[in-house]
């Protein structure tokens, strides 16, 4: 029995999977971490002033 693949449907499914990816599970680069630390630092400075 042969299978028929619908390429457009497969691409749609990949897109949906990517959109549905949980941002909390996203891997962070060292640069992303640096940005997050700067945000914390700025928030702390904001609190002090």
């Amino acid at each position: 029995m042969s299978h028929r693949y619908d390429l457009n449907k497969m691409l749609e499914e990949i897109k949906e999977d990517q959109q549905g990816e949980n941002p909390q599970e996203k891997e962070m680069s060292q640069e992303d971490i640096k940005r997050m630390l700067l945000e914390r630092l700025n928030a702390q400075k904001g609190k002090k002033t």
């Binding site: 941002p23 909390q24 599970e25 996203k26 891997e27 962070m28 680069s29 060292q30 992303d32 971490i33 997050m36 630390l37 914390r40």
Partner: protein, 132 residues
Amino acid sequence: MTTRKTRVLIADDEGHIRTLMKAVMTGMNCEVVGEAKDGQEAVEIFKKEMPDLLLLDINMPLKNGDEAMEEIISDFPDAFVIMLTSVSDMESVKRCITLGAANYIRKDTPLTEMKKIIRETWDTFKQTRGEE
């Protein structure tokens, strides 16, 4: 006048990482005052040695690094903790930074970059504490 060396505690369940980081920190003119192979031991050695800097892994037996840090920071709010881990999902990073980690270094960071981050973080930390 003699300058006191920065006292460091290294907590990681992987022996080769402890050995590597011990060599790195010694090369940075620091004194490694302890090595912990799990989170529980990290808390115990921290309380006993009161190091200037704690390098802390996350995934460890008995107690994870983030739990160990939470315990240490609740007792010692001025503790200087840098996470050194291969865990880098946003939730873990956010949690550690919110709990009070001074920095968060991925283990796949090149050594030269790692040293730079540690040095810069330590300098910033000292400035915020009003030290030289």
